[in-house]
Structures are given as C-alpha cells and as structure tokens.
Amino acid sequence: MHKGDTVTVMSATPAPESVSVSGWGRTAPSTARVVRPRSQEEAVAALRSCAERGGIARGLGRAYGDAAQNAGGAVLDMTGLDRVHTIDATGASAASAAGGTVVCDAGVSLHHLMEVLLPLGLFVPVTPGTRYVTVGGAIAADIHGKNHHVSGSFAHHVLALDLLTADGTVRTVEPGTPLFDATAGGMGLTGVILSATLRLHPVETSLMAVDTERAADLDDLMARLTATDHRYRYSVAWIDLLARGAATGRAVLTRGDHAPLAALPDRARTAPLAFRPRRLPPAPRFVPEGLLGRRSVGLFNELWYRKAPRSRTGELQKLSAFFHPLDGVPHWNRVYGRGGFVQYQFVVGYGQEETLRRIVRRISAHRCPSFLAVLKRFGEAGAGWLSFPVPGWTLALDIPAGLPGLGPFLDELDEEVAGAGGRVYLAKDSRLRPGALASMYPRLPDFRALRRELDPNSLFRSDLSRRLGL
C-alpha cells in the first residue's frame, strides 16, 4: 500500500476500529471498519464478519469517487494479498507476439507487476494513468489505457479470476459467463476478487518511442486522431479546456509504442529492460484552497501547450514518463486542497462529434480550471455489463469540487451525454444523478438481477452502490 494513504492499515486479527475513508478525489468521506486480510482464508473470515451494513473490497484507493467506501460497514483492504504466483514467459521472445501470462493475487499493484515482468520482457496488457492500482481494482472498474483502440479494456486480457461470493464460496470465473461479465466493471459488487490470470504483452525494451504533435483546435485534434490513430498502439491527447475562441480545444497529442531494441542507442542497450521510475517528494499535506484557480491553471496550460514541440517523432521516453507522469509526485491529489476535486469522464459514440464539440465549448465557456484533461478514441467495447468503454470519443477532466455552480453544470453535461447515447465512468463518478444511470448502462437490469440472485442480502455494498442504487 502507498505510504500514508487515506486508509489506516490494520491486520485482520485485532478488532478493527472505524476509520475515515475517501476516494482519490477526497470528497464525501465516510467511516468504515477497515480489515486487511493477508490470505484467501482471512478474506473469507473477514467477509463473514461483515455485519448488517455489508462490505466492499478496496485496492489502492485510486477510484476518484465513493466506489471503495462503505459507510458504517466493512472495507476489505486487499493490498495484503500481494503475491505473484506464477509467470509463464514462454511467449516473451522477440519473435513471438504471443506474450505470456501471469497468475497473481488481486492486491498486487500494476507497479509491482511491472517491476517483476519487465526484466522478463513482458508488460501489463493495459495500464491507466497510474501504476498504483491493484489487479482486483483494475478488473472491478474494467480500466482502460492509451491502447484501448487497439487492445480493449483490462478485463479483455483476464483469462480467469477467483471470486469470493456472498455465500462464502470461492468460484473460478472464466470469460464468457454471466458472472464474469457482471464482475468486469462491476465495481466490486458481485464479490471479492482474490486472484486473476492475465495475458501479457511482450516488449523488447522498457522505453517508449513517442511521436508528439500539436493540434491548433478541437477540429484539428479530432481530424489528426481519426486519421492516424491506427498507426499507434498507444494514443492520447492532452487538451487545454481553458483556451477560448479559435483556440478552443487546442491539444498536444502523444502517441507511440514500445521501442524495439534496435531503436535504442548503444549505451542504453546494456540494460534495455531497466525500470527505474523517478519519484519526487510528495505533495504537501496542506495546500491552500484555490491554488488551482483559473489564472494558475490557465498559465500552466499555456506553458504546457507552448513547450510541446509542433511535431517530433521517435523520441525515446521512459515508461513512467509516458504512461504515469503524475505517479512521480506521491499524493498529487492534495494539490486541490481540503475541498478535493471531481473527475468527469464520459464517452459519446462515433457520429456524435457535434455533442463532443458542444460539450468542449461549454466547458471552455464555464471556465473549468482543468489541467489534466485528456481526449481519446475508444475501440471495441468489452463484455462487461457495467464496463465503461464503448466505441467513441472519451473526454476526462479534473475540476476542483469547490468551483461555484459545478454540480448543476455537470448535471447539464450528463444530459448532453445521455442524450447522445453516451455514458459517464463509474470509477470516477462521485456525483451522478441516480436516475441518469439506466439510460447510460442498458445492461443495468441484468446486473441488478444477477446481484439479487447471487447476493440476496446485499452483502456487497459501497457508498457508490447506495448513492446510485446499483
């Protein structure tokens, strides 16, 4: 577990006391008994102790909202189940595109997997913007990364998983079954994921070959992404949502792939698979509210856009710099101050570009001070019933929760998104109106029916499930 996280670490044996738990956005904290099982047996025992207010599994707490909180009940801190069991690296040779597989506990972080797998020439199939998520959390939120348009979401690469269900049994769940499809993206509400078998991606080096280019406005950006995304395994665009007028939606595209050994300079070839991410000092505990205002973020965005090269190809970057720039600053979420922040991520399908344009214009007109906004094109949808990605455009942005009028403004955006057949991402949500959910996730009735059957007493519960009536 990340040092000094919002959750106090406790072993399963002494009676756990109630601690305050919040998501990465640090809004709406609630208290729960946090239990930290160290084995499957302890997890089963911990589940039995979940009294009337139920329990929910929690990984490294990177969900922005209230997905891994359970007010008045139990929270199972799964980071104690942290063993990598077996790695099959037979497909890791440069010639084979097969990759390998790994069997690991649900509490293993992607960071740890990278440390273990990279020396073997293997890489996780999907990584989000942070390495500090657990495998269990990655499946429960069915996370996506910059390679979604090529590789799909995380659950697509899960070959099997062990799930502790409400009746206290451990089931091995395989893709293609209703339970798997409910669990992938099911926000931990079908059971506790204990371990998983993942398919891995072969790499020759731990460096990335990155092409960078600037887009002058939103139309330019969308045209560039549409035209050439298929050439890259990884693709994302940072977008300046404070830019106005003709520059509305200006962006920096960074796209690339794992660098082949041949692309490395001689001195780098001695240790092509080295993985040494740099870490800066953590963000201070107390940051004044409003540090990230319109002026400061506007200035940051201006500089960020200006400093990016107009066009550069084949630049070698460290994995961590390309995928996880924010992981370099532990506790970066503190920079929003005590009031915390809200992440808003939605997707609208291809053909709904006009909705996307309208939303970007509205965000720009509302002057949301967002410095982490990214636009990406999704590929094929996964099988998960509550899985977020569907083919289309996804925009993610961060906004300080204290911004006046933010609640009603985001409600209006929800209506735009739902009206265009799109949806918002539950792993990031902390404020959706419950009534808006059904039209965004058409498989919700199936999900609810499966939960009723599998977990009639609602043993698995979270603040998110209470808030949205999942």
């Binding site: 109630s18 305050s20 956005g25 809004t27 709406a28 904290p29 609630s30 208290t31 729960a32 207010r53 909202g65 209230d66 359970n70 007010a71 008045g72 009940g73 005590r338 009031g339 915390g340 809200v342 929760a401 204290g402 933010l406 609640g407 009603p408 902390s430 404020r431 959706l432 109106r433 419950p434 603040d463 209470r466 808030r467």
Partner: protein
C-alpha cells in the same frame, strides 16, 4: 449518500414547519434530495409543507415529533433511522417567545429554554448516535447570533440558543473523525413569520439566503456558518465590547 458536493439524497427536518428549514429543503430537493421527513407537531401547516415538497418531486412524509417530549424522541427517531439511511438531519425547531411577557411568566420562559435547548440536546444526541452507526451524514443545527452574546432585549431566547450552540460545537468535536459532520448555522435577523411584527435588526437576511449558505457549508464541510457572512466579523467585535457599553447599545 451525499455526493461530492455534500448534497444529501435524504433529509430529516426536526421542526418541519420552520421557514428556514423548508427553504433549505426546497433548495436541496431541486438538486439531489429525494426523500424528506418533516418531523413536527401534527398540523395542517406541516401537511401542506410536505405536499409542497411532493409537488416538487420529492418523497416527503410527515413524522409526529414534539421537541418538549424528550421521552418520545428515542422511539420516534430510532424507528426512522432503523429503516433508512439519513444523509442529513436539520435541527430547526425553536421558539422565540416574548421576552417582555416571559420575564413575568417563568413557566413560559422555561418552555423557550426546553424547546430550544433541552429538546435539542435529546434529539441531537439520538441523531448523532444514529448517524455515527451509519458511518456518514451531516447534522445541521440552526443556532442564532442571539446566542453569541446575550442581549437585554432577548436574553431568554438568546441564552437558550447559547446553550444549543455550545452543545452543538461540543458534539461536533466529539464526532470529529467518525464520518459525521456537525455544522452550526448562526443566522442574524431572518425575515420570517417567527419575527413578523418585530423591528428589523441590521444585516437582516431571508430564509432563502440561509438555505443557500447551508448548501455552501455542506459542500465545504464547514463547522460554522454565519448568515450573512459578514456577521462573523461584526459579532467577534461585539463580543469584546465592555459590558457597560454593550448594555447601552441599541441592539
């Protein structure tokens, strides 16, 4: 559950005909609140208030509740919490009394104190414990600037609010870190039926303004809210005015 902006989905109002409370309920129902319980002495006004909230789309119900009958609080409130998660409790009951008359009628004065203070102590403790069990929620207590420093012109009401204010602050500290948030709201002179016919004090405000301040306070997880905000400065100055001078002030 409350959302990222502290807006509750369910709301219990103790003192269901309070204008400030109903203005707050209207504001919150327009956002996220779907379930509202209006607790108060059964009356047509209470039913009307619930009807109005139902018209706005809320599932509003009335609950018989008498602040003076502390014995019954445990059962009444306990039954509510047993069946529901309540995201926010707004403790809004209180009576102004009639200072001039109450000075000659000790029993009437005691009724002011019992309603505003002891009634709130019993209801506040019961709600606090229930919120603590559910692990989340806000207890919003309507205090008053009158409790900040007792004045000649309404010290009976003022002293009862002073007791309530001190109680709520202490309760807030006791519940710190339990996931339960206690917020003390200190409005100045509020134009409402409770103050109808009285001379308006400086910096008078409206129930709607108090409701807005409550919504902002929920978002910020504030512990103390003054309405209007400038009263905080004014009262901190007034607090330090020497007695002989304060006595003569026309406040």
């Amino acid at each position: 559950m409350k959302d990222a902006f502290g807006t509750p989905q369910s709301l219990l109002i103790l003192g269901g005909t309070s204008e400030i409370a109903l203005a707050t309920a209207r504001r919150l129902v327009a956002r996220r609140t779907r379930k509202v319980w209006l607790a108060g002495r059964p009356s047509p006004a209470l039913e009307q208030a619930a009807e109005h909230l139902r018209d706005m789309g809320a599932d509003a119900r009335t609950v018989p509740f008498d602040a003076l009958d502390a014995e019954s609080h445990g059962d009444t409130l306990g039954a509510l919490f047993a069946d529901n998660d309540i995201d926010m409790v707004l403790l809004a009951f209180g009576i102004l009394g009639d200072q001039a008359r109450d000075e000659d009628d000790p029993l009437a004065a005691v009724r002011v104190a019992q309603t505003n203070y002891t009634g709130a102590v019993s209801a506040g403790l019961i709600c606090a414990r229930a919120l603590q069990t559910q692990g989340h929620g806000s207890l919003v207590v309507l205090s008053s600037v009158a409790g900040e420093r007792a004045r000649r012109s309404n010290f009976i009401y003022g002293s009862s609010k002073a007791g309530l204010d001190a109680f709520a602050q202490g309760l807030g500290d006791a519940l710190h870190g339990t996931g339960v948030h206690v917020m003390v709201v200190r409005p100045g002179f509020v134009r409402s039926k409770m103050t109808a016919g009285l001379d308006e004090a400086p910096m008078a405000t409206t129930p709607e303004a108090v409701a807005e301040a409550i919504e902002t306070g929920l978002r910020r997880r504030s512990e103390t809210v003054w309405v209007p905000g400038a009263l905080r400065v004014v009262m901190s100055a007034l607090r330090h005015v020497p007695r002989p001078v304060f006595r003569r002030l026309p406040v």
